[in-house]
Structures are given as structure tokens and as C-alpha cells.
Amino acid sequence: MFSNSFQFLHIKEISKEFPGVKALDNVSMKIKAGKVHALMGENGAGKSTLIKILAGAYSKDKGKIFFDDNEISINSPNDSLKLGIKVVYQEISLIPEFTVGENIFLEKFPTNRFGILKWKKLYKECKDLFNKIGFNLKVNEKISNLSISEQQIVEIARAIFQKASIVVMDEPTSSLTPNEIKKLFNVINNLKKNNIAILYITHKIDEIFQIADEVTVLRDGKLISNRPINQTSEEILVNDMVGRAVESSFERTLIANKENVLTVKNLTTKTKLKNVSFDLSKGEILGFFGLMGAGRTELAKAIYGYDKVSNGFIEIEGKRFSAFNTSTMVKNGIGYVTEDRKGEGIVKDMNLRENMTLPSLEFFENLFFVNRIKEKNISNEYIKKFDVKTPSCERLITLLSGGNQQKVLLSRWLLRELKIIILDEPTRGVDIGAKTEVLSLINDLAKEGMSVLLMTSEMNDLLSLSDRIMVMANGEIKAEFLSNNVTQEEIFKASVS
């Protein structure tokens, strides 16, 4: 079952470019058999791209991959599996209504010559397999009755059964309890003994020192460091991940005026948020940092009335709301710009003008009808003001570039008298030129007295724009900093704690 004869998988000078982004830039690493190789980096560092290239989901632009000294080519997920590379993603891909054994043997049920399943053999082999990786699980239990961590282990067992020699684990502990993590590590140690190579992707620094043999850090698609575990430290790793010092491009002056606009108290949702509380002043930019799954988007949507709040309330200028929808929030002066521009932002069947005026259409009404001339005039005004590149305001929104669409979505809210604007990753997918414009626009809005909740993974933007910074993890606020006396390292540490 463990027919592993290779010494290492060698990734050599791999590059991958997407329109406008260099996701991977000349990255090399050697993943050795029988070792755990950790891969670290912030959101957007290029970890996912690398995994997807190994899994055959993306094709690389440049570079080579070797098994020992033999070059291999991975053109499809099938190639990758055949070569013995198995990725265990965060989302489990098992069939919930099947048993553990059935899932593991899915592609290769043992049958007799009449095609009848040999259940006894299946479950016996399955038990042997679990013994080898050091984990006890009832092999005839339905997947849907298992915990997430048990499901993950079934996925790993399945990979071993499929003769995987390299197991890639993408944030395997993100939803596990400490006890479950211990069990997972036990399994990983057993895999090591069987000479299997493990590529272990994580944000969590403390785990690295428990399980990894080597650590590679990526930042902005570039290889920053490749070190054995005994030659690194928490400090070195954080430094490698965060990198250069902040260049502050905006002059933010902390507001002297402490007029409270928004109070969020013990906000809790069924799915994510736990007792989130904070205050927001007039003209303040309050930044929120958190890694994937920290709950920033969920917080934005809960305040905005899109997700149901199960406990807690918000107060806008003293007016209390505990059950509310987006319509109420917009009427009370809150606007929201989504991180998912294509999915939740633009209305693709509509043109630029109709997209821009959607939340403020009542101001364009003459008695019964929408006044299109007024709409056109105001749209054109904002097109000019923000330099939106479009031949006319009647152009279909889908034909605009990402940055220009983002300007339209921001303009949407400027047509209303907003008190508070919630911006979720406002610069995501926006090219560099437009990015600076979007950032200075946010700065101007705050200067004019609008309060801003800024959710962003871009540490530089966060530090240069925010007055205060909240760090979130697991649906809670973990730390609060004043942006003029905090370092990237401190913020990052708080977000992984």
C-alpha cells in the first residue's frame, strides 16, 4: 500500500500570471518524502495558486516539476492523482450518505467475478488502512455522522488508499478543536513514518513548530524563505510573511471630534459572529483585519441587515435596531460595498446608469416615473468626477473593467446622504492605478464627515487609512489598536492568536 520510492518532489522556478496579477513569480521548493513541509503566507501570497497547479486545476506559465530527477507534467486533476499527489481541501469532498468504507473504496470497490460487492473484504481492508495511519474509526459509519476532523482523516485515508505519495493539506486545522488537532497530528506523524511527503498550508505559526520539518514562506507570489524548522523562529516567520515597512501615502489626522455615529453591541449571528462590540465616530475610518474565515464579511453583512442577527443590537446616532433588513439600514444612512463585486455587486443585465442609481432611485422619481434625464446627468457627473473609463453612461456594466465597476459601486452610495459606509475589500481586483484613486476617495469621504468601516486584507492600505484597527479571528474581535502606534507584526500576531 505504501509503495513510495521517490526522495523528493522538486518544484523549480514556477510562475503563474493572471490578468493584472503575478500570482507566482519564480517559486522553487523541494518537498521531501517522509517530511512535513509547511507553506506559509498572507492571503493572496500565492499559496492557493501553487496548490492548484499541483492539483492540476491551473496550468503553470513557466517552470518545471520533478519527481527526483524525472520531469513530470500535470495537465489535469487526473494527471495529478495518477502521479500520487492528493490535495485535501478545506471543503470536504466525500459523499455524506455513504459509509466511511464506501467513500474510501469509491473508485475501486472490491467485487467478485459477478460484479457483486465484497463487503467483508472492503471493511477489513479499510480497518487495516486505519490501523496503519493510527486512527480508529467505525468503518461502516455514515460520513454525515462524523465530525469535520474525522471527515478530514477519511479524506487522508482515501488519499493513502489511492497510493498518494504526496498529501497536500490546505488549512487542515482551521475548523478543528485542540483535541482534534492532536489526533490529526498523530495521523500526520504516521504518514511520515510511511515515507509520505506532506505539504502543509497554514496561517497558524504555533502549529508549524509542532509538526513541520521545513518552512517555505511566500509573499506577493514571490519565494521569500526556505528554512529547516530549527533555523527559524516565530519572529523570523512573521517578518518574512509581512515584509517591507509601510509606506504611508495619506495624511490622516485623528479626529478630535468624538461624536458617536454607530454603536455595535454584542452582535452575534448563528453562523459566525460572537459578541462583537465597538463604537464608530463621525468621520472616523475604522479598519478591520482578519485572515480568511475571521468573520469580517459576516460582520459587515450583519450590521447591514443582510445576515440575521441572533443576539445583540446596533445603534445609529442613538436609534436602536435589533432586527432589521438592508432596506431599513439604507434608509438610516448605511451603505455597503461588497467584496464580491461580480456576485453581489453589479447587476449584470443593467447598464452603468441603472447600476449607479439603484440604491437611490427614489430621488430620481417625478411623481410616478423615473426621470432618466436627471439620472443621466448625475451619472455623467460621477463618471467625470471619478474618471470612470466608459464611452457613455448607457454602457452595459459588464463591459467595464473591474476598477471602473468598483468606482460605479462606490458612486452608488455617494448619491445618498450616507452616515456610514461599509467597504469590504474595496481594492480587490482593482488595478494599481485605480487602486490609489479608490483609496484617496475613501480618505476624502472621511474628511467630509462620513464614517467608514474598512474591511481589508491589504495591510498597507489598512495602516495608512485607518484611525483605529480591529483585529478579528473566529468571529470575535481579538484586539484593538490605534493605527499610529502599531506595527504590521503586532496586527498579524493578533490575527493568528
Binding site: K331, T338, E344, M350, L358, F364, F368, F369, V370
Partner: protein
């Protein structure tokens, strides 16, 4: 080629004209006043309901219960007027009933979060069954009030009354969908309901409005149908929902929501009805009256897919 299909209404209009010319040459009876009136009269009941279906489909929802509701309406209106002797009370009963059904459809869709295809299919079954609980036998006109008969069978300036009623309702929906705030909201909800909701639009409210409007329009059409038949019949509008939906889709409204056109809907209905009429005039077996709309529906949705595909 696909680019030119963009202007769907023009194409439909030409198809309609070509059909009319073809049938006129084939059988001059086609352009007789009686025949045209008959086409227009039977189109009117479909159009009235189709106005509601167009805005529903534009918002990404569908109502399969319109046919069953319409049959039910013919029974109710006839029965209530027979008992009370009052047309007004008959109308009130119909509209209250339709309001109730529309609200249930809307609530099941939005509060219970049941897909509207399923929710209204269930409503269709419920109505088809419960109409027999209401009355096992067809209800004949025993009140003999002339005004009631006039609604479906009468003429004003030689134009059939149902056409006049339809023409009276028509402008509201053309203006509504194209020029009002709420019309724009329906389009936004159908095109991207998340984006609409995040723009502060109360999706649920507008979806309920869509279902209620459609049901109320069914009430009007049902009254006309009862007057035309002079009876309340439990199965009088069986399959009506399919003709309405086929016509709306043929007219260019997308089944996935996000784009709808009342003018297209009208052309879709006229085309279907002229084909219907042609089948009779040409002496083709009447079974084809069902076959042809079926084939046309597939073609229409295929074109809808083509149009959607080029948006990506």
C-alpha cells in the same frame, strides 16, 4: 447572427406579419372582422395574465397556479352572482380570493423559501382539487344579468370588450416595467437578487407584490372567461399557465430573470394565437394546437440561452 437577435421584438414583429400575410393568402377568411375579433378576444385573457407573469419572470419567479386559479375564479364568480344577484359582490369575492392565493404564493416563496416552481405547482394541485370541494358540478348562469354577459361577449365600437379591458390595463404595465422605480427593482431582483438586496431593496416585499399582482390579473381574466362561457367550470382554464408562460418566454422575457418586455409578451401571444387560428383555418388536426406551442417553447428558450451566453 446572434447579435441581430438582440432586438427580439423587431424579429417577433416580422414573424407575426409574415404569418398574417401567409394565412391571408392561404385563406382570405383570416382577415375577416369576425376572425380577427375572435383572435383578439381569445388573446386578451392570455395577455392580461401574461402582464403579471412577465413581471414575475423578470424578477426570477414563476407562477404555475394561474390556470387552476382561473378555473376556480369562473366557478366562484358565477356562483356568488347566482346567489347574491350582485355582480359587484361576485367581483369582490373573486378579488379577495385571488388576493389570498397570491399572498400565500408569495409567503410560501419568500418566508418558507420554497422555490416558486414547486410552491406554485403545489398551489396548482391544491386549487385543482379544492375547486371540486367547492362544487362538484359546473355552475350555470342562472342570474342572467346582461352586464355580466357583456363583459366577455359584448362590443364597444365593434371592438370586443375583453380587448378593451386588456387595452385599459396594458399601459400600466408597459409604463411600470420600463419607467418606474419599482419596475427597475423587479429587473434588478431577477438579474442579481443579492446585489439588489445589498442595494437596500426589500426583495421579499417585491416578490410578494409580483405574486399578488399576477393573481389579481387572473381574477380579471377569469371573470372574462366565465362571461364568455356563460358557465363556471372546474377545468375551464386547464393548461392555461403553460400557454401564458410559453408566450412570455417567446416574447423574450428570460426564464432566469433580469430582463422582461411587455411588448414582447404581446407579440408572443399574438404569434401563438395566430398559429392556433391558422391550424384551424388550414384544416390541420386540432391536436397540433398543443404540439406547436410546445415546439415553439423549446425554440424560444434556446434563443434565450443564446442571448444569455453572449453576455458572459
Amino acid at each position: 447572427m446572434i447579435k441581430t437577435i438582440k432586438n427580439n421584438e423587431t424579429i417577433l414583429f416580422f414573424i407575426f406579419i409574415i404569418l398574417c400575410i401567409f394565412l391571408s393568402i392561404y385563406n382570405p377568411q383570416f382577415y375577416s372582422i369576425q376572425n380577427i375579433n375572435s383572435i383578439l378576444r381569445s388573446s386578451s385573457t392570455v395577455m392580461i395574465v401574461a402582464f403579471g407573469m412577465t413581471i414575475l419572470l423578470t424578477s426570477g419567479e414563476v407562477d404555475l397556479s394561474v390556470g387552476a386559479l382561473m378555473s376556480f375564479v369562473t366557478v366562484i364568480v358565477m356562483d356568488v352572482i347566482n346567489i347574491t344577484g350582485s355582480v359587484v359582490l361576485g367581483f369582490i369575492a373573486v378579488f379577495l380570493f385571488c388576493l389570498f392565493i397570491g399572498l400565500i404564493n408569495g409567503f410560501v416563496r419568500t418566508i418558507l423559501n420554497v422555490n416558486s416552481l414547486i410552491a406554485t405547482l403545489a398551489m396548482m394541485l391544491i386549487l385543482q382539487g379544492s375547486v371540486y370541494v367547492y362544487s362538484m358540478a359546473a355552475i350555470y348562469n342562472t342570474h342572467l344579468i346582461p352586464f355580466f354577459t357583456f363583459i366577455g361577449q359584448g362590443f364597444v365600437f365593434k371592438i370586443p370588450m375583453p380587448v378593451i379591458i386588456m387595452l385599459f390595463i396594458l399601459p400600466f404595465f408597459v409604463l411600470f416595467l420600463n419607467f418606474t422605480r419599482f419596475g427597475r427593482y423587479f429587473t434588478a431582483i431577477g438579474s442579481n437578487s443579492d446585489a439588489a438586496s445589498l442595494s437596500g431593496i426589500n426583495n421579499k416585499k417585491f416578490k410578494i407584490i409580483g405574486f399578488v399582482t399576477t393573481s389579481l390579473l387572473v381574477g380579471i381574466s377569469g371573470i372574462i372567461l366565465a362571461s364568455l362561457m356563460d358557465t363556471g367550470q372546474q377545468g375551464s382554464a386547464k393548461g392555461f399557465e403553460l400557454i401564458v408562460i410559453a408566450a412570455v418566454l417567446l416574447g423574450g422575457t428570460s426564464f432566469k430573470g433580469g430582463s422582461g418586455t411587455i411588448v414582447g409578451t404581446i407579440l408572443g401571444i399574438l404569434i401563438l394565437k395566430v398559429i392556433d387560428n391558422g391550424i384551424i383555418l388550414m384544416g390541420i388536426s386540432q391536436e397540433f394546437q398543443l404540439v406547436v406551442p410546445g415546439v415553439i417553447l423549446i425554440i424560444a428558450v434556446y434563443f434565450d440561452n443564446l442571448r444569455k451566453a453572449q453576455d458572459v
